[in-house]
Symmetry: C2
Subunit: 218 residues, 2 copies
């Protein structure tokens, strides 16, 4: 990819990337059902958006589809997987072998698309050395040493809130450029590191706030 | 609360509500450690924001704190819990007794703050009637009947993507006004229903996209 194309990709909004994830799910569903083509209308309907939006999203990445024939399902699937970086395997480490980490590993769905757990860390003497899924929990002391040797791509951060920033700083310093954070805290990272946060308790609290502040009937 | 105050609350941004969740966590941590007061500086530092932002967030809800003395930890904790609707218990149903639902129930943290699971539903004959945490999985056929009788407040939607919109429509029609969605699809709901979505696979895919499209060294 030339630098101009790369600069264009960098401007693509997070919302576009989310829609690409959605389209990919529908395409894979279509592929499983043996369907050959899909229209922008159908992708839009499934994704809760407009066919103009679908065409705009896909136009970022070049020319797809033939007027009146729709998109070829296998071609578009392959192309979106390439665009999303899902045609390759990413090495994922989990830092914090607590309940969330365990829930993640149990929910195989998270790690279907080329996300492969390569190591799990904790700082608790009660956990280090214990089996965890198909791994043995490692001492977080060795995070830097292991990262230099094994070059993981993504860190899933599931440590307590008060330890999250310091742990993230270590992950960043070790050279990892992508972090999925489950700690209920806003983290600071350099601009070349991408941090995404998931906080289910906060989503529930947001619902609680919405419920208690909604208009009362009558 | 009068209607003017309520109208003001409705304008509060989702980002403010998220920060209130964060402040509450820090306050509870302070309370456990027996600390009496907290400054806006300390809240800001922990939350990765500015003390001006903290004061602005809290000013929405009236006057707190004394200049130079900071906020009273127990008072501010109680007040934020009230504002967030966390001083009461919310009845939560889980629709879809799959892996995500199970991970949720196992991760007790989600349901600490007054979120109480009252029922779990599925449509699979292999699951209906089976034990699930402290519940027995119910037939989703009875969703409307049960909801009329038991008046749950929040539905956690963990059905497959292709069933999500139809299931949400049933939940909405049954009168539930708040939904936490785990299906990887954008859902349409009426304006008086609040839907929040969590999709960890998509967060990972967003990281994959960021990794593959970042500037190459050199």
């Amino acid at each position: 990819m030339n630098s101009q194309a790369r600069a264009r990709l960098k401007r693509i909004a997070e919302s576009t990337v989310r829609r690409l994830s959605l389209y990919l799910r529908f395409l894979e569903d279509f592929e499983q059902r043996g369907l050959e083509t899909i229209s922008s209308d159908e992708l839009a309907r499934r994704g809760g958006t407009t066919s103009a939006q679908v065409r705009k999203d896909l136009s970022f990445f070049g020319s797809f589809g033939k007027r009146g024939l729709g998109y070829s399902v296998p071609e578009l699937t392959t192309r979106i997987r390439e665009i999303m970086g899902l045609a390759q395997t990413w090495r994922v480490i989990i830092v914090g072998a607590g309940k969330i980490g365990a829930a993640l590993a149990q929910y195989g769905g998270f790690f279907q698309r080329g996300f492969h757990i390569t190591a799990v860390y904790d700082n608790s003497p009660n956990k280090i050395g214990k089996p965890w899924d198909s791994h043995v929990i490692r001492d977080v002391r060795f995070l830097e040493r292991d990262t230099a040797a094994e070059r993981p791509d993504i860190a899933v951060l599931t440590v307590p809130a008060e330890a999250a920033q310091a742990t993230l700083d270590r992950i960043v310093k070790a050279g990892i450029k992508a972090v999925l954070n489950f700690a209920p805290v806003q983290l600071q990272a350099p601009p070349d590191v991408t941090v995404r946060s998931v906080n289910m308790a906060m989503e529930l609290e947001g619902l609680s706030f919405a419920l208690i502040n909604r208009d009362q009937p009558g």
